[in-house]
Point group: C2
Chain length 373, copies 2
């Protein structure tokens, strides 16, 4: 096993992220060691994930879990689902010592974290992420929440897991498009904080995308390391943590404008990064060569699928970004490759120009691209 353990140390929590292929086979032992008092455990998962891996998971735990199901899909990431799950927990007698296990991708992981944050004002939970996006990004750092009609992740809590167990072998059982989209968060991690990771992603993209265990585990561990460092420095996103939002301002706007239905999250973030790199290039924060190289690597983890939206809607939607404060609009921009900054003086015309340039690229990227099933 090419395993790695990465500690996350923040002001309010300390825990480990363990990354290894095949880790799921020993999840029961790991949880028993983590929770020696043997609390009641509730797994929150989707029917699809449980159909693929539930038998192995339950066998490793010797069956002593209650399973709560949530259908896949962003449209279920709402307070109504959280309330239904909380009622089920209460009906099953869950108390303050009970532990939730999010065995899922990022959407359900965020929601399970929020369920844990709110149930009886906070119980413990463990993340067992099953998608690249969740393993790289959303399972650690303590951001939990649900969507409002007004926007994504607008209601939630900071609540860290007790531990994160990322089995990289599980990623091979998921659609290739999900792996590719999730790896855009690794590209982001490389761009904002780890030039070596960016170069590895560039040079080894075939091995990574073919699911080579060592390559994939290396990329996920390096990405987790970037996130762990950023979160350690700024748990509540008052400064450095905002850098993790590279590509997210327009990415979230694209998701909202397309009803969260046309693109995967990582694909929308990839489009958002393209726009941010465009602004950075015009501001001379990155050279033309660096911008081109970043664009090439983002596309290597594509294809970046086309989507339908108009520029004015997208620009209007960026005004709802959670990072905006007292009316000023924040934007994360790369500085070369391996560094980034938050700017608050993006002008309307700068934003419109970058959005238009991004929209024009859709056709180019789309022509000849293989659209995943």
């Amino acid at each position: 096993m090419h395993g790695t353990i990465i500690p996350v140390r923040t002001a309010s929590a300390v825990y480990d992220v363990e990354i290894a292929p095949g880790l799921l086979g020993s999840i029961g032992e790991r949880l028993a060691a983590l929770l020696p008092a043997r609390p009641r455990m509730f797994v929150v998962t989707s029917p699809e994930i449980w159909a693929l891996h539930g038998e192995a998971f339950a066998a490793s735990l010797h069956g002593v879990v209650t399973v709560l199901y949530v259908p896949s899909g962003e449209e279920h990431k709402r307070l109504a689902t959280v309330e239904r799950l909380a009622e089920e927990l209460a009906q099953h007698g869950a108390d303050r010592d009970s532990v939730l296990i999010a065995f899922s991708g990022g959407v359900l992981g965020d929601m399970t974290g929020f369920l844990a944050a709110g149930y009886m004002r906070g119980i413990r939970y463990v993340q067992v992420p099953t998608t690249a996006l969740a393993q790289i990004d959303s399972s650690l750092g303590g951001k939990t929440g649900v969507n409002l009609a007004a926007g994504k992740n607008l209601f939630g809590a900071f609540h860290h897991p007790l531990a994160v167990y990322a089995d990289t072998a599980v990623l091979r059982t998921l659609p290739a498009a999900q792996l590719r989209a999730g790896l855009q968060e690794s590209v982001k991690a490389g761009i904002i904080r780890d030039r070596a990771l960016f170069e590895y992603l560039d040079e080894q993209h075939e091995a990574v995308l073919n699911g080579d265990e060592a390559a994939l585990t290396h990329v996920i561990a390096a990405s987790v390391q970037v996130k762990a460092k950023v979160v350690a420095a700024d748990e509540k996103e008052s400064g450095e943590r905002m850098l993790l939002n590279l590509g997210h301002t327009l990415g979230h706007a694209i998701e909202a404008a397309t009803g969260y239905k046309q693109l995967l999250h990582g694909e929308a973030i990839a489009w958002g990064m393209i726009a941010a790199i465009g602004i950075a290039e015009r501001r001379s924060l990155v050279t033309t060569e660096e911008a081109a190289r970043m664009g090439r690597v983002i596309r290597a983890y594509g294809p970046l699928r086309n989507f339908s939206a108009n520029v004015s809607d997208l620009v209007a939607l960026t005004a709802k970004d959670k990072k905006n404060r007292s009316g000023s609009r924040s934007f994360v921009l790369p500085i070369g490759i391996g560094d980034a900054t938050v700017v608050r003086d993006i002008s309307p015309s700068e934003l419109i120009n970058a959005t238009e340039a991004m929209m024009e690229l859709r056709g180019d990227f789309h022509r000849g691209a293989q659209v995943p099933a």
Copy 2:
């Protein structure tokens, strides 16, 4: 003005509770001093409270607030209401710098605190409590949340206000039954931690209940002081803070069994205290004389209205108490007057006997009692 400022100092927050008659007239100045950066403010209130005090409130703030309304009543203390309010905040452009003001009783105050805890993963809020219950107990300490069908306050967060402004003159505009019920939390505070307060409540009950400004302000300030000390010692209710739940185990069960409709919260807590005192007396934690005196003071702040429920339902409902951990049932019991403890070894028969004894008292207390309109 007989005003008092009581600081609350916990591991995660430091803020003041200001208690004075007529404080509402200067709420605008106070908020301006508290929030010099002049963030956007959103008042969450009920139509009834706003009809009584909204004009004075808005005038003091020079009109620069947006008002969000929630109908009165425990049945609205649900995630669906929180979601509706969050959507309204988003529509009004509330961002991470915006501040909520809970201008309300405890039900709406708890919910507004939770709205602030969850909106964009946490914004600031101020409590301006308008009932005795809220001024004495629920507006400080950071417990926020909503009810589930399965039970009261089962979903929420710890999120402290920036400040609490309690205008004791406002209490005279509310129904007498609400004042009496709320003052049961002062009786509780006296029993668990402040014998002098208990004796004041006993000896001065006519002045307090007649709304004498000095007497009422003294009682509320002393009660807040008890809560502030307990919360400072144990913010997250791992130990001493549980003492604040004297009367709440059966009180919550009575509320659940009666659909939150037959009694006010303080009245249900009063019944729960009667049961707890009965258990304490049988265990010789209090003398017969002390038990009788406590019962007499509780009744002085009554009448304790009758309610319909059966013993087995009530006992079953206590099993859902949030304080229970890994199956063991916790109960707060007084030790004499001015001290209390948490016991975990309450036997089923002890609980059944105490519940039966409490139920038999209903008729006695009810006969000759004035039922408030």
